[in-house]
């Protein structure tokens, strides 16, 4: 109980740090935010009034406190491009990104599980060497180039799928494959390693000695233990999926929050940049906290050690 309270406090501290980092980013930006808001044609009096309205004449710590209050309330300000609240802009694009990330996660899990099972059926053989080199090679392929290659092969040459978009399931397949490949390859490495350790453990040998079949030893005894590090690792990968969405959405012209971030940077729409960044970092922090709680619930050993 005490340990989980401490973890909750740490999560809050990390979130506070994320708020501080986004504030520093705004603070260090070259140029005057009031000037940016007012536009290039504004007179110096108009800019001065806006500075006062935005609280930019206040001490830095007051500005930081106000910034934190706004972010916690979910008020990310108004987009400099559209004039609409950034929260609405994110809300309109979020479902697309979440759908893409969820499909990528499913592909990654399917690949990791099947690769790890395949390798565990032939321990120490060619299969594990193939997975080893294959996964390293996949990790060396940048997400955006993988996306372009998938478009080239499946949309341009074979004409099996549309080259852009993520609305229908057939459109979603290529971007999800590009986005999920890295996570699938690295999770497969982690799972294969923990599974081969578990299969050599004493409790699995005992079970086999008592006459358990390979399947039973694998699914009933080895897998539940081997899954714990892989699940922990997989949750850490959620951040990578959201970060990779920035490039994947750009390659496949998907109108999600990743591409919104890129175009906002190009237009120097800083309220939008801060809004999306804070949203992603806060989601990653909260997902990791949730994963931690889930692992504690699943694994009694972690509860005891705190």
């Amino acid at each position: 109980m005490k340990a989980s309270l401490l973890h909750a406090l740490e999560t809050v501290a990390v979130l506070a740090g994320v708020v501080a980092v986004t504030f520093l980013f705004l603070h260090w930006l070259p140029g005057d935010p009031a000037q940016l808001y007012a536009g290039v044609e504004a007179t110096s009096e108009e800019v001065a009034i806006l500075r006062k309205q935005m609280g930019l004449d206040q001490p830095v710590w007051v500005q930081l406190a106000r910034h934190a209050m706004r972010l916690v309330r979910g008020d990310f300000g108004h987009s400099l491009r559209s004039g609409r609240p950034v929260r609405e802009e994110i809300g309109a694009r979020l479902p697309v990104t979440l759908r893409l990330a969820a499909c990528a996660a499913l592909i990654a899990i399917a690949f990791a599980l099947s690769a790890a099972f395949f390798v565990s059926a032939h321990p120490g053989g060619t299969a594990s060497r193939i997975l080893d080199w294959l996964s390293l090679s996949v990790l060396a392929i940048p997400v955006y180039w993988l996306g372009l290659m998938l478009i080239l092969i499946f949309a341009v040459k074979l004409r099996w799928s549309p080259p852009a978009g993520a609305e229908t399931l057939s459109e979603l397949l290529l971007p999800a494959l590009a986005l999920g490949a890295h996570t699938g390859a690295s999770t497969a490495r982690v799972l294969a390693a923990s599974l081969s350790d578990a299969l050599e453990a004493a409790y699995v040998r005992t079970a086999k000695g008592k006459g358990a079949s390979h399947g039973r030893a694998l699914f009933r005894h080895a897998l539940p233990n081997a899954l714990i590090p892989a699940v922990t690792y997989f949750f850490m990968e959620i951040g990578r999926l959201l970060g990779g969405a920035v490039l994947t959405e750009t390659v496949f012209a998907v109108n999600g929050i990743g591409r919104y971030l890129v175009t906002s940077i190009a237009f120097r729409d800083y309220p939008a940049v801060i809004g999306v960044t804070f949203f992603i970092a806060a989601s990653v922090t909260l997902t990791n906290a949730a994963a931690d709680i889930a692992c504690r619930a699943l694994d009694p050993r972690m509860r005891e050690s705190g």
């Binding site: 740490e10 392929i141 372009l148």
Partner: protein, 276 residues
């Protein structure tokens, strides 16, 4: 990082991957150093009338949309990729390792405070961190180097901290402390020197990530301005011709993949051995 080093039994032979990794990395460094001398074509010379000319003996990779020699651009791009990756990782590694061993050796509240600050940065997906850093400075090569450094230092700090914290308990460190050696000397001679092998493996792994990250930023338009031959920017301009001449996307992409794979194999192999 753990993404790559985690996995498969560590006692597996590492010679082959070190050899292949060293070969690919050597190829990249060779292309970066001697390539621009061996390929005499100007990577910036525009010949619009020879736009998208297919490969020939004189121009093995053909020409791009503006009629520039593709091979010359790849080779000059290798120089830029090397410079950005080496510069950025050197920046991130030196700052991160120093912060990590300092915090790990100091222990107590200092260690906790530094680690929580690292946790905050780790909450941002790595590429997002690089994207923010690059957008602070605006497009250009210095911004790529800074972004790569900023994106890699938390990982170095984290690994160096845990290495320093475990080395702190070693007898020779305790002896040096008891003999009154200055902290600087303990950190450099006793802790850094013994933590070096895994850190060098991490440098190699991060170099692979740095090449992909820097090109990713250029792909999004945050790299050096247009005529500069940069692999990510070449992919971005080449993807408009994916139908007409896919080699504009294939060539820089393969260069990226082989370079990153070289560093990954080298780092993975060195990591398995417990360092060089």
């Amino acid at each position: 990082m753990s993404t790559i080093t985690a996995g498969i039994s560590p006692q597996r032979k590492s010679h082959k991957r070190i050899a292949v990794g060293a070969f690919l990395t050597g190829l990249l460094v060779f292309a970066a150093v001697f390539g621009p001398v061996l390929v005499s074509e100007d990577p910036l010379a525009i010949e619009l009338e020879r736009s998208l000319e297919p490969p020939s003996l004189a121009h093995p990779l053909g020409r791009d949309a503006l009629g520039r020699d593709l091979l010359a651009r790849i080779v000059h791009g290798a120089r830029l990729a090397c410079a950005v990756a080496f510069g950025g990782v050197a920046l991130g590694a030196s700052f991160g390792i120093w912060l990590g061993i300092w915090a790990g050796y100091a222990g107590g509240i200092v260690e906790r405070a530094v680690m929580r600050a690292i946790d905050v940065l780790m909450a941002f997906p790595g590429f997002l961190l690089a994207l923010l850093a690059a957008s602070l400075l605006g497009p250009g090569v210095p911004s790529l180097v800074f972004a790569v450094g900023f994106f890699s230092f938390p990982a170095f700090a984290r690994v160096a901290r845990s290495l320093a914290a475990s080395l702190k308990g070693e007898l020779y460190v305790k002896a040096a402390t008891a003999l009154g050696a200055p902290r600087r000397r303990i950190l450099l001679r006793h802790i850094l020197r013994n933590a070096a092998p895994p850190l060098i493996a991490l440098v190699s792994l991060r170099m692979g990530g740095a090449i992909a990250t820097a090109s990713g930023l250029s792909f999004l338009g945050l790299g050096p301005a247009p005529p500069t031959p940069e692999w990510g920017a070449m992919l971005d301009s080449g993807r408009a011709y994916l139908w007409l001449s896919p080699r504009l996307v294939l060539a820089p992409g393969l260069a990226l993949v082989l370079s990153a794979l070289g560093f990954y194999l080298l780092g993975d192999g060195l990591g398995r051995r417990g360092g060089p």
